[in-house]
Every structure is written in C-alpha cells, then in structure tokens.
C-alpha cells in the first residue's frame, strides 16, 4: 500500500521534472525581447539549448511542488535522493493529506472537522469554501440514496438530505445568488433519475468535483498559514504562457509551437522526458 503510494508520487514528480525543465528554458530565453527580435527560429532553439538551468533550482521547484501539493512521502524520498533539506514541517503536510484524502473519499464531515482542527478561521471566514464543502456533503448524502438498489427511491429516503440542506446550507442561500443556484441544483438531484440528468447536474455527481474542492481547500489551508497558496511551478507555467502570449503580440519571431512537455503529444515532439529525471 505504502509502496503503491510512493510510486504514484514518484510518477507525479517525473512529470514535473520534465515540465519544469522545458519551462525554465523557454522563459529565460524570452526575457530579453530585443535580442529575440532579430533572431530566427534556429537561434531560438539554440538559445534554448544554451540555457542550462541549475539542477538544484529544478530540484527546489520539484520539492516545492511536493510540499505544497501534499506528497509528504515523496518529498522525504526526494530529499534523500537529491540531498535537499527535507520538508520543514512534515506534520503540516500530513494534515493536509488527511484532509484531502477525506474529501476524495467523500467523508466530508471528517474533512470539515479536520480543517477546523487545523484552524477554525479557514471555514469561518471563507463562506464560499464552507458552502462548497457542505454542498459536497449533501451530494454524498443524496448519492447514497441514489445508489441504493431498486429503481426508484422513495420520497422519504431523501428526508435526511432535506434536513441537512435545511440546517446547513439554506441559511446562507439567500445571501448571494451563487449560493442559491448551487443549492437549487443540488436539490434537483433528488428529482431526476441519474440516467435522465443533463450534463450540468451530472457533473455534480462526478468525483472530479471532489478533487476541485480539495484543491481549493489545500490552497486555503496554505494561505491561512501565510504560505504561498500555489506551488511555484504553477506560477512559472502561468508566467510562461503569459510571456509567450506577450511575445507573440509583440510579433517576436518565435516557433509557432513551443512544447511544454506535459502532454504525450509533446513528448513525440522530441523532448526525452525520462532522461531528465535524476
């Protein structure tokens, strides 16, 4: 079990290694635009080759990713392999992992309690996030009813869901249209049988929603500790996209397509991902 988790983590980190690398090359090349103006595609790729970001920088970015996205095991192993100092506060990473696992597993009440244990300020001040978690919990209650064998659940089966919605979600609903709409849609899940649902309702039952909320929760916890709410690499990728867009708008001579190295299609483009993993 533990081994499996580690594997999964390592896979993540390879993934990252590739993307960071390409990214760093491209962004640092774009920075002096005046020289690029005069360069050709060939010189662009040459410049990319010339830029050798330091290994330790890349490792730092990977480490940062592992810590902020919550992969304590991988972070520890990665620290050993690269001689980087290990994550300072392993316990806080594990806290976040527990919260994330609870959300992924659909155990929302547990997740809420865990968050409140870390810092009650998080949910007390971020009403939207709190509402999302409660909405997810309502969805889970409905899901269990829908999942029951038998074609049509009786109306009374939904009573716990209605009670939960009345007590937990509806007080907030009139304060903002976005709450109201979310609540109405969620309640509609009790009306339509799953197979007749339109995509907008179906996505509520999709487990992807849990993942989305889990990411938000992770961000909020990091923010509450005054840390960066996002892994550095996400910012770097955004910066890269922005720079590319700006450069193209300024009519800088760039290759039409600069691979990011994240998708399988990119790898076909010649970047040999595995070679870059330490």
């Amino acid at each position: 079990m533990a081994l499996g988790a580690w594997y999964l983590d390592l896979h993540e980190c390879r993934h990252v290694a590739r993307s960071t690398d390409t990214h760093l090359k491209s962004s640092s090349t774009v920075s002096p635009p005046s020289s690029i103006m005069r360069s050709t595609h060939a010189s662009f790729t040459r410049k990319v080759e010339e830029m050798k970001p330091s290994k330790s920088d890349i490792n730092w970015v990977i480490m940062d990713y592992l810590v902020s996205e919550g992969y304590p095991g991988a972070a520890e192993k990665f620290a050993q392999e690269t001689n980087l100092p290990g994550p300072v506060d392993n316990e806080s990473i594990r806290e976040r992992v527990r919260v994330r696992n609870a959300i992924h597993g659909g155990r929302l009440d547990e997740a809420i309690e865990l968050i409140n244990e870390i810092d009650p300020e998080i949910l007390d001040n971020n009403h939207l996030l709190h509402f999302h978690l409660l909405q997810l919990q309502l969805i889970e209650i409905i899901r269990t009813v829908l999942a029951k064998p038998g074609s049509n659940p009786a109306a009374t089966d939904f009573l716990p869901a209605i009670k939960f919605a009345t007590e937990q979600l509806s007080p907030r609903a009139p304060t903002d249209p976005k709450y109201q709409q979310a609540l109405e849609r969620t309640m509609a899940l009790m009306i339509f049988p799953p197979e007749k649902m339109t995509p907008e309702f179906k996505e509520l039952l999709d487990e992807e929603l849990r993942r989305k909320v889990a990411v938000d929760v992770n961000k909020a916890i990091l923010e509450s500790r005054g840390e960066r709410s996002e892994a550095k690499i996400r910012q770097l990728i955004k910066a890269r996209a922005w720079a590319e867009q700006e450069a193209k708008a300024a009519k800088v001579d760039l290759p039409a397509y600069i691979p990011l190295g994240l998708d399988a299609a990119d790898e076909l483009g010649g970047v040999d991902g595995d070679a870059m993993v330490s």
Binding site: V88, S92, N116, P120, E121, D124, P171, R172, E223, G226
Partner: protein, 1042 residues
C-alpha cells in the same frame, strides 16, 4: 447544542477533573466548535444560551491550575513541551472565542462584558505552548478587529467600550513574545508576529495607549524587524554587530510598519522616537567600513548607494540661496509682506531644532522611499504612510531655520525626492483604487485591493499635507482626476448582503434587557459594504482637503470635477433616530443614508480648505448651499465634529462671503459665542481649541460688519469676559518662570522682544544641551529614565552662564547671530559657516522634543496664547473699518478707558524677568522676557486702530505713559511684522487729521520723541526689511513735517 453546553457546565472546574473527563470535556467543546464554525445564527443562539460564561470559566480555571508552573512568556519555551488534555481544552475554548468574534460586532458586547480579553491576556502571559499562544493571539485579534468596526458605528455610544488589551501588562506580554525566539516552526512565529502587529495597529486608538506603547520596548522591536528586513534585502550594507536580524516575511513587515504608523501617528515626539530608535540610527551609521561619516552616499545625488549601486534614481537638486530670505523671493523683497511662512504655534521648537540630525532624517526618508518602491499594493501604501508621518514630524520640528543654508538645502533635497519619487507612487495607488483594477483573484489579493481602496487617498493626503510643493506634485500626477471618482462612487448604492434565512424563527427573546449582558448580543453595526463606502469617502475627502489647502488652481480643478455636491452630501450625519437594530425590521443602512463621524470630520476639512478661495465662496460653494449643513453640524453631539464645523465656518464668515448673511440669520453669532464661552476660564488644562476656533470665526465676522452686528456680538460675548480672556492666564505663567531648579520655564519658551529664542528648559544653555532633569514632572515613569541624567551635560550648563545676551548690544538681535555666538564660544576656531552642532545626542534631543510636546504647562501656554491672540484680533477687527471711532467709544462705555489701556500694556510689558541671568558672569542686569510675537503684533495693531480713530482718541492713547514705555522695546523686535506694525501705529499717531488737530499732533510727536519712540523709528530707517524701511521713512517724514 444547549445540552452540550449543559454537559460541559456539569463537569465543573478543570482542576478536579481526571484526565478522562478532561478528554470528554475537550471533545464536547470541540463538537461545539464544529457546530458553529461558519454558522453565524448558531453562534448567536449559543451566546444567548450562555456560552460566554462557560468559556470564561474554562479559560480562567487554567490560571489557577497552572499557577504552580507559571512560566514567563519572556523566557524561551521549554524544549520538551508536553501537550496536555488541559491545553487541549483551552485550545478548543479559545477556538470558540475566535469563531464567536468572527461573527462580527454583535458578539463584542457580551465578550467584553464577560471580560474575555482580559482572560485571554492572562492566558497569553502564562502559556508557552506555541499552538495555544497562536490561537489566543488570533482570538484577541478577532475581537479587536470586530471591535474597531463597531467604533465607526454612528448609532451606538460604544466608543466608551474599551477592549483593555493594551494595558501596561498586556503590552509587556506582547513585547515578551516579540522578544522570545520561538522554538517553534517558522510558520507559527510569523503568524504570531503578524497577529501582534495587527492587534497593536488596530486597538491603539487613544493617545494614552500610544504613549504606553511608545514607552514599552515594542516600538523599538518593530523598528528592529524593519531594519533587519532592509539588511536582508540588501538595501543597506551593514557592518555593525548589534543587529541580529530575525527573519520575517514581507507580509509580516507590512503589518509591523502599519503598527508603527499607528503608534507614532498624532505625535511629533513619537515619530522622532521611531526614527531615532537605536537600530535605525545604527542602520545608517554602521553601513560602511570607514570610520568617517559616509551618509552623503544616501543623498539624492548618489541615490542611496550604500551597497555600491544607486538604489534610487539620481537627482541633482541645485543648491538654493545661501542666506536668510526664507520669507519669500529674493528678487521681490516686498513680496515678503504677503508671504508669511511662519507656522503658527511652533515658535518654541526653534531653540532645539538645530540639534536635529538632518542627515539621519534624510537617510530615513530615503530608506522608506526605497522600501515603498520595493513593495506592491497595500504594503507600498503602508510604507508611504510611514514616510509621510516621519516627514511631517520632521517638518513640524524644523520650521524657521533659514539661517542655516546647509540645513535648508538638505531639507529641500528631501522634499524634492519625496515630490518626485514618493508622491507619484501614492497617486498611482489612488489611480489603481479609482479604476478598481484588481491585482489578483485569490482572497488575499482581493483583501489587499480593498485596503488600497480604503486607504490610498488617506495616505496621499497625509503625504502632501502642509506642503504646496508636494500638493503640486500630487496634482501633476493626476491626483484630482483619480480622487474625485472615488468620492462620487462612494455614493453609489451597493448591493448589501441579504440576511440569512432560518428554518426556525429566531427566538424572540421576550425581553432582551432581562438577560445578563454576557448573554445579550449587541447590534451588528453598519453593514460591511456601507462601512467600506464610508472609509473610501472619508479618504477621498481627506485627499481633497489636502490638495485644496494652498493652491487656488487645485480648488478650481476640484470644482470642475463636479464633486462639490458630494462634499455637501458628506456633511449630513445619520439621522438621529437611526439605529442599527432596525436591520431586523428590514431597513438596511446604505451609503447614501448618512455619514459616519470620520466622514463628517473629513468633509468639514474639505469644506474649510475649499472655502479659502474667494471666487469659489461666491460661486460653487454658495450654489451648493454648503453653509446650512455646516451650521447644523455646529450642534452635533461629538465635540470633534463641532470643532471641525467651527473651523469650516471661519472662512464662510469672511466679509466677502455671501454665506455670511445666511449664517447670521441662522443664529451663528449666538452659537459661536456660547461655544467660545463654554469651557470655563478656570480650566487651564481644558481643551481650548473650540474657543480658539469660535473666536477666530467671530473675529472674521467682526471685520466690515454693520455696527449692529458688532455690538450684538460684543454683548453676547460680554465685554468683561472678553477682557478676562485677553488677560488670560498670565499670572500662571509668571509662577512657572520662577519655578526653582531651572525646570520648566514656560514664559521663556517664546522668542522675546530682544530677539533671543530662549531655551525652553534650561534658559542659559544652548539648544543642544537640553535635558530633562529631575524637576521635570515627565521624567518619572518614562522610558528615558533608564538612561539616567547626563552629568557631562549638567556641567556644560554650568559653564554656559557667561554667554548671556546683552540687551544693550544691538548686534545680537538676530537669532542666527546669537546662535553662532554661542557656537563660537564652544568652538572658537571654527568659521561661522562650518559651525557644526556638537556630536548629535539622540537621547537628549528626544527628551527635548518630548518636553515641548508633552509638558502640560507648555501645551496649556500654547493654547492660552492662541486664545489670547484671537481675542485681541477680535478687538482689532471690532475697531477696524468706517465706524472705528464709534466702536471705540462704545468699548470705552462698556469698559473704562484706563482698564483697556492697562490690559494692552500688560500685553507689551515683559512677562517675566529671567532670574537665572544673575548667576552668570559679568552681566548682572536682568533679562526681560516678553510675550509671544503674535500677541504683540495684535496688540500693536489695536494701538494703530485706536490711533486711527478721532483726534481725541489719539490724545487718549498718547497720554498712556506706561503703555508707551512698554511699547518701546518692540521697535527692535526680531520679527519684522512687529516692527512694521509698530511703525504703522506711530504713523497713525503722527497723522494730522485736520487743521484743528495740528497743534495736538505736534504735541503728540513731542511726547513720542520724549519717550524715545521717534529715535526708534529713525533707527528703523536702516532696517534690513524693505517694508519696515519704507514705513519708517513715512514716519520720519511725518515727524519732520510737524
């Protein structure tokens, strides 16, 4: 929920409980916490059920149980901290306090009624567990922040409710935490630092708390963090060894700067205390390896090049003139008469300003500029605010030192740098706020944007206040263009959050008054959206007030932006029947319904500065009907609002103001007179500002008014009262002067007629040697005491006795010459231009700044002088104009002539004889000390008016021998305005009204000659001032014609 509560109650106090039950208690409280987090309605119910008492019980039982192992908060945390169940219970209870306080203003009254802040502070003093400490600080911060929103609520008289967190002990605890290096991870430490800074910056609202904070080490500690941050970010190269930089994140630094701003705001002394704090001094004296002073590298020309490369853009600021023409342009000396730059009420500063260390001040300002430039958004704004506070404090302290050109030039450099590098940054932030640009989408960025919106205008106003140069710079950077939309926008209706829904009816407590205060939630206060609009509005009005302060062009631009109606709307308070409880009945208070007190104050200020324009008074301001709301505000319950409204009235009552008639019709005379008389004459320490402003307004009303108005006003005030005010507290002043031990000598504080600025505390020493000795009432229980008395300094003073001013020598009439004489005495070989103050001693300097600001006697004296000046000017304007003669006759009827002249003589004679002089060397003659020049000018002007009345009045005046005798020394007054006034009066006296008066006029001239006044006028023919020379020439001609 109620049953959980009951269960917790039943468990009883913690000490008796075994571990198992403690665990159950912890679980129960945790469950309660999970119930209410994010659910405001449940919080309210819980409070009604009595949760607050339960929390106090749980939290304070802690103190009893842990009394034995009470560890000081100051010491380092024990290496092995074992987390006990008791700690867990406390942690969960603290979390509940956090959550309740997050519920908003409504929860503050019950929490305060139960004394929760105090309990938390005690807890903080005793715990070292990092988690518990963080949670406690968080709870305190939540309480304080909700409390501060409540302060702005106009409906409640809650300003009396205090949190009592920043008591002497409380501050010690916080400072202890700042000092301790926490064994805990960096995260908790930073969070704690931030929370402490936040608590300080929001709850230090009163002067008393700020003074306490300033006395505690906390201000220096914040300064240390700031300095350490600068070293870490390589703004300065630092070679000293006293700084041990603790690491702190940029967010923490911002909060600390904002805490510093709060502490030092409102006091020149505290601002000095900040930038002269040891680490900040060190920062700029230890930033090079060589032993010589390299601080010029921080200068404009070198662009803060401590690390080798210039960090600020280089500026070449041409040297200004070299001498004493600070009264105006050298090319047009006559303009000097129109450009009086002397600032009121600061004359006492003069004697010590030369001790100020201008290089250090400049380095600090540049450093703050650098900090602002290196930051973004709200952090940048806070850095600019700190810069503004420091710069203003320096300005307040360094007026009228024109005779030291080097000093002037350095001051100019600082001003210029701020104008070119600081003001545009602030204006840019105002633009960002005005355009509603967002810096990001996450919550912290949104919060940052909101703070910028609320504070950008305010900071701009603070930065450019009192300086026309900076005001022009701000307008050049587009300030008016961006401020006005903010003001307009603040009146837009905002979508207010709708109330929450509840399945149950909110239990209508039959009679809320029957509940104990700890179970009774208060009102929710203004909606947050409305509060935000109010803060934006207040800031925008402040900015307009500051921009319109000096330049008429700016005022016109503001009018053209179409915001005068907005100023009008901002003068309207919330209706008296307003109450936030109405919200329950569905009535919600929006931004158009009224204005908070802060907005009213700012609007009055804006109206005041806008009304300085004559043309606007006659056009847009009268069109907007600005007089009526201001008149109504004169009756506002808040004394500060009354004062601001009175100030705004002053300009509306000028003779060319079309609003004068309306205001008189409304009954402004009666109101102002009763305001002027309100504070009893016996209350020397009372707040005299309202009296000054009211008299000022009445004084304006007197000029060129119809006779009936003048007589009616005089009647309303009462001539006896008026004379009483003019005579003032002079007797008190005399007593101070003769106080033994050379302590506080108030009468000495102002420039005397002989021209010497007499040192406030130690009359016989030079400005540098000011020290607070034991006779100073302030020396007790203050932070300076630990430094002890400087013996060397005391000896210095002894030796100074012989450097006395000799009244018979005419060469000593200029303060500058006197100063150089003193300096030459100390350092005979140095040339006058190179004369430097001895090594700067910041402690002594600080104590002198403080003595001037905080000595009650000095402050009372300043207020008293201001009142007397206005009262004298009131009489002066009363006598001015066509009906001068009849008004004087009227005055003579009310008050006996002898009495009037007696009072006027009193103003001219020396207020004291300096007793210390006798102890000096050769000179045994005593040195007279005269009243402040403002009073002398007013008095002499009254003489001019009397002399301008009928011939018999002239004769009456000339018969006053003691008056003439007292008048004589003032012909040599160092202030040119006094000299001009004196000559004018003589000119009036020697004027021949008609043929029948010729004989009398000749006799008057003889009298004047006999008492030496003619000679004095002749001597003024060689005066340095053109205006004085010209008047004197007329005077001499008139003498000769007789």
């Amino acid at each position: 929920m109620a049953d959980t509560l009951g269960a917790i109650y039943h468990m009883g106090s913690m000490e008796a409980l075994p571990e198992v039950e403690l665990e159950a208690q912890a679980t129960a409280i945790r469950k309660l916490k999970n119930e209410i987090v994010g659910h405001d309605q449940r919080k309210e119910r819980l409070v009604c059920d009595g949760v607050v008492d339960m929390l106090v019980g749980v939290l304070s039982s802690h103190q009893r149980t842990t009394g034995s192992r009470k560890s000081e908060a100051n010491g380092p945390a024990p290496a092995t901290w074992s987390w006990t169940q008791k700690d867990e219970v406390r942690l969960q209870a603290t979390f509940i306090v956090c959550t309740l306080a997050n519920g908003g203003a409504a929860f503050i009254p019950p929490l305060l009624a139960a004394g929760v802040p105090q309990v938390l502070m005690d807890l903080l003093a005793q715990t070292t567990a990092p988690r518990l400490r963080t949670a406690t600080l968080q709870a305190l911060w939540n309480i304080v922040s909700a409390w501060s929103a409540l302060q702005e609520d106009p409906g409640e008289a809650v300003s009396a409710v205090r949190t009592d967190i920043l008591t002497k002990q409380g501050i010690e605890v916080l400072s202890g935490i700042l000092r301790s290096t926490l064994a805990d991870g960096a995260h908790n430490q930073q969070l704690q630092l931030r929370l402490i800074a936040d608590i300080v910056s929001v709850s230090a609202t009163t002067e008393a708390i700020k003074v306490l904070l300033c006395q505690s080490p906390i201000l220096d500690q914040f300064a240390d963090f700031l300095a350490a941050h600068s070293i870490a970010s390589e703004h300065v190269e630092y070679y000293g060894d006293t700084l041990r930089p603790p690491l702190s994140t940029p967010a923490t630094i911002t909060k600390m700067m904002s805490a510093i701003c709060t502490i030092i705001s409102g006091s020149t002394y505290r601002a000095h205390r900040f930038f002269l704090s040891p680490t900040i001094r060190d920062l700029f004296t230890q930033s090079w390896l060589a032993s010589s002073d390299q601080r010029h590298l921080f200068g404009a020309r070198h662009g803060f090049a401590s690390t080798g490369e210039p960090l600020l853009p280089l500026l070449h600021i041409p040297a200004y003139g070299t001498t004493t023409h600070h009264y105006g342009s050298r090319a047009f000396p006559a303009m000097a008469a129109l450009q009086n730059q002397e600032r009121r009420g600061h004359s006492v500063f003069e004697s010590i300003t030369q001790g100020g260390d201008v290089d250090h001040v400049n380095a600090v300002c540049r450093w703050l500029l650098l900090l602002a430039r290196s930051m973004q958004g709200h952090s940048r704004l806070v850095a600019l605010k700190l810069l503004a506070l420091v710069n203003n404090a320096v300005d307040a302290d360094s007026f009228d030192v024109g005779h030291r050109s080097e000093y002037m030039q350095k001051n100019r450099e600082r001003k210029k740098q701020i104008a070119l590098l600081g003001v545009p940054l602030a204006a840019k932030l105002v633009q960002v706020a005005s355009e509603g640009r967002s810096s990001g989408r996450d919550r912290s960025a949104e919060h940052d944007d909101m703070l910028v919106k609320e504070q950008a205008c305010d900071v701009l106003a603070l930065l450019v206040r009192d300086s026309d140069e900076l005001q022009v710079a701000a307008v050049d950077a587009g300030a008016i263009k961006h401020v006005c939309p903010i003001l307009k926008k603040s009146f837009d209706p905002v979508p207010l959050a709708k109330p929450m829904w509840s399945a149950r009816r909110i239990p209508g407590n039959a009679d809320p008054a029957s509940l104990p205060p700890t179970r009774r939630p208060g009102s929710q206060g203004l909606p947050l959206e409305t509060l935000h609009a109010m803060r934006c509005r207040q800031g925008a009005l402040q900015a307009l007030a500051a921009l319109a302060e000096k330049e008429d062009v700016h005022r016109k631009a503001i009018v053209e932006a179409g915001v005068v109606p907005c100023i009008f709307d901002s003068l309207k308070p919330f209706p008296p029947d307003y109450s936030t409880d109405d919200k329950r009945r569905g009535q919600v208070v929006g931004p158009k319904d009224g204005n908070t007190t802060a907005v009213l104050l700012a609007a009055c200020r804006a109206a005041k500065t806008m009304a300085r324009s004559v043309s606007l008074l006659r056009t847009s301001l009268i069109d907007a009907g600005i007089a009526k709301p201001i008149f109504q505000l004169l009756h506002h319950a808040d004394p500060e609002v009354q004062l601001a409204a009175t100030d705004a009235c002053i300009n509306l009552l000028l003779e060319f103001s079309p609003m004068r008639e309306d205001l008189i019709a409304e009954g402004v005379v009666k109101t102002l007179c009763s305001q002027a008389k309100r504070c009893g004459p016996g209350s020397a320490n009372g707040d005299l500002r309202l009296r000054v402003s009211s008299l000022w307004a009445l004084k304006h009303l007197m000029s060129a008014s119809p006779r009936e108005i003048k007589i009616k006003t005089l009647e309303e005030l009462g001539s006896g009262w008026l004379i009483g005010v003019v005579r003032g507290e002079q007797q008190h002043a005399r007593e101070y002067v003769s106080a033994p031990g050379g302590g506080v000598s108030v009468g000495l504080s102002a420039p005397n007629a002989a021209g010497e600025r007499v040192d406030l505390l130690n009359p016989q020493s030079s400005g540098m040697d000011v020290d607070v000795d034991e006779a100073d009432p302030l020396a007790e229980d203050d932070d300076e005491q630990e430094y002890g008395n400087d013996d060397a300094c005391a000896n210095d003073e002894e030796g100074d006795g012989e450097v006395m001013f000799d009244i018979s020598s005419s060469t000593h009439y200029q303060a500058s010459q006197l100063r150089s004489t003193l300096n030459n005495h100390h350092h005979p070989p140095t040339s006058p231009t190179a004369t430097q103050v001895p090594a700067f001693n910041s402690r002594r300097y600080l104590s002198s700044v403080r003595a001037i600001e905080q000595t009650p006697a000095v402050r009372a004296q300043q207020a008293e002088v201001a009142v007397q000046e206005q009262a004298l000017d009131f009489i002066r304007n009363l006598l001015n104009g066509e009906d001068c003669a009849s008004m004087f006759d009227h005055l003579l009827q009310l008050i006996a002539g002898a009495r009037i002249f007696e009072v006027l003589t009193e103003k001219l004679v020396p207020v004291a004889i300096d007793p210390a002089t006798g102890s000096g060397g050769a000179t045994t003659s005593t040195r007279p000390i005269y009243g402040p020049s403002a009073l002398i000018i007013s008095t002499v002007n009254i003489l001019t008016h009397i002399a301008n009345a009928l011939p018999r009045h002239k004769q009456l005046l000339i018969a006053q021998k003691p008056l003439l005798k007292a008048w004589l020394p003032h012909f040599n007054h160092p202030d040119r305005k006094v000299r001009v006034a004196c000559v004018w009066a003589v000119n009036s006296l020697t004027w021949i009204d008609d043929e029948s008066d010729r004989r009398d006029a000749r006799q008057r001239a003889q009298e004047l000659r006999a008492c030496g006044i003619e000679g004095a006028v002749r001597r003024l023919l060689g005066d340095e001032d053109l205006d004085v020379r010209e008047r004197a020439r007329t005077g001499v001609r008139q003498f000769e014609q007789l």
